[in-house]
Symmetry: C2
């Protein structure tokens, strides 16, 4: 049974530039159907439904995306889809969410979920989420740790106590947070068995989080707690002034690394992927006999291991292997699959060239 004080705050303000040219400011990764029929943010809401109905879903996004997200999530009340006045990383965004939720329900327990991940086994996932909400109710700052599947250098790690068993539903005290490691360290983490990927999924009572914010990020806490009542006209104007003054910092770094009431779940596999690049999408989707993945009509001759996404257009490949081909009406990307991480750099180049039309 969904508990009436359980809320979800979905963080949907990222850009996902590595999905350019499909992703744009007004069409970011989370509102794209990257790995299925539903968009990533729709799938995020769908999978939470058994625990958190749409009436208790809140979304923190930005002005570029608010209208599109509201369109994609008709079941979520439009007033619960908020736009950050500026990008200030996760600590201020979650702080603002906590202020709003606490004003609505002083007993609110909030789960924080990224809007742009894929979770292949949602029922497994919900077992951990249920346990995490329960632990949060008791006053902990709860994090989900994911069992690492390879020595990834692109994620932060959560160090759990010796002897931690992945897959247990019993929360344990977190030993510490480790920033993105180099490869040697990541390999050591993987071998040690007690380091877990930090996937940015958190659970806490709004009041507990705000107390931690007051202690560890007092400037931000003061700015946010001074806001008028949520929904009032003065709220709207004052949040525009206060929010951009908040420090630009992640909740991991600003709060979780410092607090002493942080608990974690060492989750087993629930088919998680942050689908960080076109190559990750390629890996997720079913392949044909030549290991090609095509979301368009494809005519492939002597071509293997390609990812093709060109809408209704026919794509003909001749003698090419391991490419990403993504076509849009105004921009076309052709990249080597093992360079897919570099697509974000292309977007930075476009910014430098002031190609606003393509961002």
């Amino acid at each position: 049974m969904p508990k009436p004080n359980q809320y979800a705050l979905i963080l949907g303000g990222g850009r996902g530039t590595r999905f350019w040219p499909r992703s744009r400011r007004r069409n970011a990764k989370q509102v794209l159907s990257v790995a299925g029929e539903r968009t990533l943010i729709q799938a995020t809401v769908d999978r939470l439904a058994p625990l958190v109905p749409p009436e208790r879903i809140w979304v923190m996004t930005n002005e570029y995306l608010r209208a599109e997200i509201a369109r994609q999530l008709p079941e979520v009340p439009a007033g619960q889809i908020l736009a950050e006045p500026a990008q200030r990383n996760t600590a201020p965004a979650i702080g603002l969410g906590a202020v709003v939720l606490q004003s609505i329900d002083p007993d609110a327990v909030m789960g924080v979920f990224p809007a742009d991940h894929v979770i292949g086994k949602p029922r497994q996932f919900l077992r951990y989420v249920r346990s995490a909400y329960r632990e949060a109710e008791k006053g902990s700052l709860m994090v989900l740790g994911l069992q690492p599947r390879w020595p990834e250098t692109g994620y932060g790690y959560i160090e759990m106590p010796n002897g931690t068993e992945p897959g247990s539903l019993n929360p344990q005290k977190v030993v510490g947070f480790r920033e993105k490691p180099d490869l040697a360290t990541a390999k050591r983490y993987l071998a040690a068995g007690r380091y877990f990927w930090n996937a940015g999924m958190f659970f806490w009572r709004a009041d507990v989080f705000l107390a931690a914010l007051r202690r560890h990020l007092p400037k931000c806490a003061t700015l946010l707690s001074a806001l008028p009542a949520f929904g009032s006209r003065p709220f709207r104007s004052q949040v525009q002034r206060a929010f951009p003054v908040c420090p630009n910092v992640s909740v991991d770094f600003a709060i979780l690394e410092k607090a002493n009431n942080v608990m974690g779940l060492a989750c087993g596999d629930f088919g998680w992927s942050d689908v960080g690049s076109w190559d990750a999408v390629y890996e997720l989707l079913p392949k044909d006999g030549e290991r090609n993945v095509s979301r368009s009509g494809l005519l492939a001759v002597a071509s293997r291991g390609n990812y093709v996404d060109a809408g209704d257009k026919l794509v003909a490949l001749l003698g090419v292997d391991d490419l990403i081909v993504v076509d849009t009406p105004d921009a076309l990307l052709v990249a080597r699959r093992d360079r897919a991480q570099g697509v974000g750099e292309l977007v930075k180049l476009l910014e430098r060239r002031r190609r606003e039309d393509l961002l």
Copy 2:
């Protein structure tokens, strides 16, 4: 001074499937701006202008292309742009042209020119053309031979007498025609120095050609000479019946290999290319510092030696080398440059799949 009995018959009925997806049935290679601002057929007419004014230019094409060619060549009288009732290779097409020209001018001397070649040095070219028309006037079947630049296996060769000097304006008796050789033979031809590429450029009096046709391809000659007067309504209907019955054969094979009055010019370099593939276009055009050729906006990172043609669209390349990328509204080609010859095979696959919309 242009001589008033010199005519040009431009053969513009080919498809150029190796330029798919840019080339289509209604948009074949000769009506594309493959290597410059002007289309290939426009450039063909332009370069002949000093010798053959538009009033004496005739074009043999097909029903798919006639309207587009007429649009591109407003200076050529529309009635001189003819559509073959069927594809029957060059012998019947030139035969029909000769019948028409002779009916207009019994002294007509016709030059036959492919519509889809590039000639980089038109003034050099015209020196040979002028000499060829002169020789044709005397009653020879004249061909241009091009000094080979590599052991090409895709062209037929013209064998000239021992001691032939490339670049001479003096016609010589042709020893024989050689079909497309294998590589070893092509290398031998190149070393021997007296074999020249047959580029499909011919010159003869219309009456001399029709005499040769009567002798060597009598069925075709009979069918064509029985046609009513050119331009009459009965002509139009009877040519529809007669032409498709003509043998499907090239003028080289049917006439030139057999006739004994064939003369040739061993031309020096006049910048000729048949631009047989996207790779040939790549070779023709100027390159940037990374050896890329782009006819669109290009953002290239760690990418070298690519040919990019996507209209107004920006193309971003990341970590890819030596590709052909050609984008159109309904089809996109990504091919390895050294496989560019195989693009025609893709078109055959599309035909087999009955993708008429893409042909």
